[in-house]
Amino acid sequence: MEQLIQKAKDLLSKKEVDAIIGYCATGKDEAKPALIYQAEDAGELIFNDRCYNNLAVYLTRKDVKKLKKIGIVAKGCDIRAIVNLIIENQIDREKVYIIGMTCNGVVKPGSKYASLKSGKCDVCKVRNPHLADLVIGDKVTEQVPMDKKIKHADLEEFEKKTREEKWQFWVDQLSRCIRCNACRQACPMCYCNRCIVDYNTPQWIDTRSNPKGGMAWNLVRAYHLSGRCIDCSECERVCPVNIPLMLLNRTLQEEVQRSFDFEAGYDLEACPPLTVFKKDDKENFIR
């Protein structure tokens, strides 16, 4: 932590970065995102296992984008988001200074200090940051080797359901959606200037929080994240009504991995899988 504060102070006082996005304490046993502009405020920075927010979401916020260079405190999972933002041309690699943190997994305080409900840390492959200007913290052992294909337990469980059961499950879950857009705003990949639901000509998605609108919205969001979701589980964590959104996202993650052999957020040279194609892509479902 001292190393983090020192580095942040250095960067800010030498004007190498205009601001640092990091975590600071909340007074409760939690951490919250903080944007630090002054070197004297750098002392507020902390890093611990409560730092579950994905800070990459701030990189595409209007006022942050205006800055010349920005420093960011990032765990491996956050760096996956940054990598994806870079390959989608949302930020320049030169414009971010990544302070990578090694991480042993984060926990959510509300849930009695269990690992995050969606189990993102159980399948994490990047406990040691894979792309950073500086790595802070001792090297930790990776739980999952990089080349291993992941199958989430909850997804496996869910897929045993019949079609009717699945439909009923989602109707129950998604009618609860209050359309607060927290999932969208917390998602580092949801950076569109104006989201499809904010357009009304044509109005593809009902803006009301009725079952129909909830269904359409969550379907579109999951679809727009296909091949881009970096499994940070922020959408699910911030959902005030606890909709298991990662089930949908992971379905698509898995499909993309199986069909196009792609995992988002690891490779700076990769192309987003839905913008490219191979002539021999599978088409056994097409008549």
Binding site: W167, F169, W204, M215, L219, Y223, E254
Partner: protein
């Protein structure tokens, strides 16, 4: 089910191949079921899952999507991209529990009038067996 129920099927077809194919079927006087309503799109790559969900929501019982065969795309690569999109779209809709039996995806060129006519007949038969699609329509009923 009403006795005289006839399925409504919406077909999203690409302007350059399948639409011409459907035209050919018509001019060659192949008979195909009148349950299908054709909507022309510039390219099969234009078709978004929202189209599917919207059509089902507005009361369609089945959806067809059809475009040029790979390598035949008027825009060179539209259908290659479409193929990848359909792949994830299918996975998503399956996971949501939307009946994939009702969604047919095909390639059908301008010369394949018979293929198109047969396909329409086949799909109509299938949807007739499945009966009206109610899942999404029922969501509308829960108005307060």
């Amino acid at each position: 089910m009403q006795d005289n129920w006839e399925p409504k099927i919406i077909a999203f077809v690409c302007n350059w191949c399948t639409y011409a194919g459907a035209d050919l079927a018509g001019t060659s006087r192949f008979k195909y079921a009148s349950n299908v309503r054709i909507i022309k799109t510039p390219c099969s790559g234009r078709i978004d899952p929202m189209f599917l969900v919207h059509t089902l929501e507005k009361g369609a019982d089945g959806v067809m999507i059809s475009g040029c065969h790979p390598n035949d795309c008027h825009y060179n690569e539209g259908n290659f991209n479409a193929r990848r999109k359909y792949m994830v779209m299918r996975a998503l809709l399956t996971q949501l529990g939307i009946d994939m039996e009702r969604i047919t995806i095909s390639w059908c060129s301008a010369s394949e009038g018979i293929k198109f006519a047969n396909l329409v007949n086949e799909v109509t038969e299938k949807i007739k067996k499945l009966g009206p699609y109610k899942d999404i329509v029922q969501l509308n009923k829960s108005e307060r």
